[in-house]
Symmetry: C2
Subunit: 321 residues, 2 copies
């Protein structure tokens, strides 16, 4: 839930005047998204989304994100499209923040995904990986293995206040993952944050993907592992194998896993679980006073990590090794 | 900023199916409003606002609020209109909360009101007071004089942590207001919360009023005093007499004050300042953990109260006694 920055009526009028989308009819902060401030901007031409990029986003990365959304759409993927102003620019400035207007995407995200939703997201993820081919810009994944230990160090001192034993567990896991993380799996542009709130459905069908602000170049199978964690666990912390099989099976219809990817999946799932455990832990311990964001429970990802630690091979996810 | 209650995709589909507004195209939480959860609900028929009434709203009051919006619109005032479902009901239930769909009102609220906005709101307030005539339901103002002392008692113990001397100042003010509060001024339906975020402007013109969830029967001039406090003070805490004169002057063009109202205005302004000081103080001291609401500064209203305490008569507000 995020609106970190206020926009005055004068400021929005001035900003929108540089675009060919008519005048402002309405502007409302949206209680969604965590990293940036998002607004529903209705103009005479209809609804749009206005995003103000807040301090966690590196302005140098914005051309990658903007360009990627355009590249993916050209390749047939449905996602918000940056609207360019009269000067042809997709990036401007509002209230001292870099800002972009993107098209409004119909659909809503699924609060309690069922098996068919998991299948749909598996297929869409494979489509995304294929559609990302040929994109000319690249972006390193700042939240992959080399980023985890520094992140852990920033939470280490107070981590035990969240749950006893957490420091040793994370330290051991980091040792293992740093040593055994694969180096040569098929890679390309990944979404890296394809949680249910970033996938829209309309009348039962997947209608588009949003929020490409963690997108980067990394292993495709790591992106699959992120989705496995985000979509296929039940509220009680148990993996739903039917959902996992549906997600992985649908993915493989478009982009079959290599033998190496299949073998690496449990480890990648551990890495993905640790990555979200670490960022949630940091956020949990560093809620700013007066924050308008409810931090997400890091322990949800501790449970997922423990599950994947116990996994022998991908049969645990419902597919054959 | 408020979304207190999550709505599942199944639940919203089921709820909207009972209305004749097509199927759900989009549902997004809105980071506006403090008392209730508000969502932008786009259906095949266009955008609407869905409000879920949270625990601070008494469900018994809902027919008053809903009926009032319909009454005011029939009398020519622009405000959101409750949409009735196929059974003719304007109230339903979503996620265990009473819920209503209202029409989407174009316009946006003014972050830094100028003199012309104050004039426009003065005129609209008078229109509202006139349009409220003949409304058959009534609602007592739960946040008028008899409600203030109990509210104060709930904050008293920790009030001095906000600013030293606050307890004595409030206690003295309560004594004075309880003794001298008028009893026979012109009364009717008042908005009781017409702050800038509840007044929309579109292309420089006032386009409508929203959020009638504090509306009640009380003195018209008390409503004027609330607007004086909400619209006519500068960020440094000083009254802008030009704005006050514009607001009061525009109001009087439609509904001139009686001599008694004119004489009571400084006292009513003190009461209004105390009312918002008390509710903000309570909210400030009782921010729930993980709240998605930033409490508003109670001391802003302490400054306003002190200003009105120093006022001899309405000349301080730029009009003649």
């Amino acid at each position: 839930m995020a609106v970190y920055t206020e926009i005055s009526d004068d400021e929005i009028d001035r900003f929108v005047a540089s675009y060919d989308i008519g005048t402002v009819v309405s502007l409302k902060g949206i209680a969604e998204g965590v990293e940036n401030s998002n607004f529903l901007l209705v103009t005479e031409k209809g609804p749009h989304i206005l995003t103000l990029y807040e301090k966690r986003v590196d302005p140098n990365d914005l051309p990658f994100f903007i360009g990627l959304m355009e590249h993916l759409a050209r390749r047939g993927l449905t996602c918000p499209q940056p609207v360019r102003n009269r000067a042809g620019e997709a990036l401007g400035e509002v209230s001292g923040r870099p800002a972009a207007i993107v098209t409004f995407l119909d659909g809503m995200w699924i609060r309690r995904p069922r098996v068919e939703h998991c299948a749909a997201v598996g297929a869409a993820l494979a489509d995304l990986h294929i559609a990302g081919e040929g994109f000319s810009l690249t972006r390193r994944n700042a939240l992959s293995v080399p980023g985890w230990r520094p992140l852990f160090e920033r939470s280490r001192e107070r981590a035990e206040t969240v749950t006893p034993g957490l420091v040793a567990l994370i330290a051991d896991e980091l040792d293992i993952l740093e040593k055994s993380w694969p180096t040569d799996l098929p890679a390309g542009v990944i979404h890296a944050d394809l949680f249910p709130d970033n996938v829209f459905f309309l009348r039962g069908k997947l209608s588009g993907l949003i929020d490409f602000y963690f997108a980067c170049n990394d292993f495709f199978a790591y992106d699959v592992a992120i989705c496995l964690n985000a979509w296929c666990f039940e509220a009680d912390g148990a993996l739903n194998v039917t959902k996992a099989r549906a997600l992985l099976g649908a993915y493989e219809k478009t982009r079959p896993f290599s033998t190496a990817e299949r073998a690496a999946l449990p480890l990648l799932a551990r890495g993905s679980a640790l990555r979200f455990l670490l960022t949630r832990l940091y956020d949990w311990l560093n809620v700013p006073p007066g924050a308008l964001v409810a931090p997400k429970d890091p322990l949800e990802y501790l449970k997922k990590l423990r599950f994947h630690q116990s996994v022998a091979d991908v049969r645990a996810y419902g597919i054959e090794p």
